[in-house]
């Protein structure tokens, strides 16, 4: 399913990478430990996390993730936004918890 469709359905706010929302999302991965996400996320996954610093961008690039969703009203750090725009990684935000986003995404993709 297209990221733009997911963003709309889950009411995610787009912080950057609006032009990349046509990407197909293969599934989701929830994690705040970067080496866990490096090991276990899959290409095309939407990454749900509470990490907001710039290190998330390299992880998403290296694992070819479809985008990053920051939960619980967290905003990306300025450097994170800058890097994500440059690297072509969409960052979206929501007031929902990781649990709620994952649940809704799972339902939507099933």
């Amino acid at each position: 399913m297209e990221l733009s469709h997911i963003a709309k359905d889950l009411n995610l706010k787009i912080k950057c990478g609006e032009e990349l929302l046509g990407r197909d999302v293969s599934g989701g991965y929830v994690g705040d430990l970067l080496s866990d996400v490096m090991a276990n996320s899959k290409e095309g996954n939407l990454w749900i996390t509470r990490q907001t610093h710039q290190n998330i961008v390299a992880v998403a690039s290296l694992k070819d993730l479809a985008g990053i969703v920051l939960v619980q009203g967290k905003e990306p750090d300025v450097d994170a936004l800058e890097k994500a725009s440059k690297e072509g990684i969409p960052i979206l935000v929501t007031e929902l918890s990781s649990f709620d986003v994952a649940g809704k995404l799972y339902t939507l993709l099933s």
Binding site: L33, L34, S35, D36, E43, T49, N55
Partner: protein
Amino acid sequence: MSFNYEQSFTIQGGNFTDAGVVSVFIKRTLQKMGIPSEILRRVAIATYESEINIISYARIGIIYIRVTPENIIINIDDEGPGIENIELAMRAGYSTADEKIREMGFGAGMGIPNIINCSDDFKLTSEVSKGTHLRILININTN
């Protein structure tokens, strides 16, 4: 297909601002060369975890990568505190990361286990208060 490439990168300890830059560059370079995506994934994990460990624990380090038609060799040499108990450092979940490192989402004790999982051959040697050396071999299967 014939792959031939080698390059070295210097990584500064403590420089979290550029964390991952070298790994992303290596991945892009190998991608352009037409390295299969499963091999790319393994190289990306191995270089990323090594890069982050230099930044987290060492003063300075060098990542050297060599791509041949048969395999990819990655050598990582750093100057730093070294590792006292290598067996322990290789165990999943073992970490000495401080609060500052953990706050950024590192310190799960999964970095070295991840590297091992991605390697066809792996050697870790270290001298306390001198530095740490990793030798990683990833075979390219083109059949």
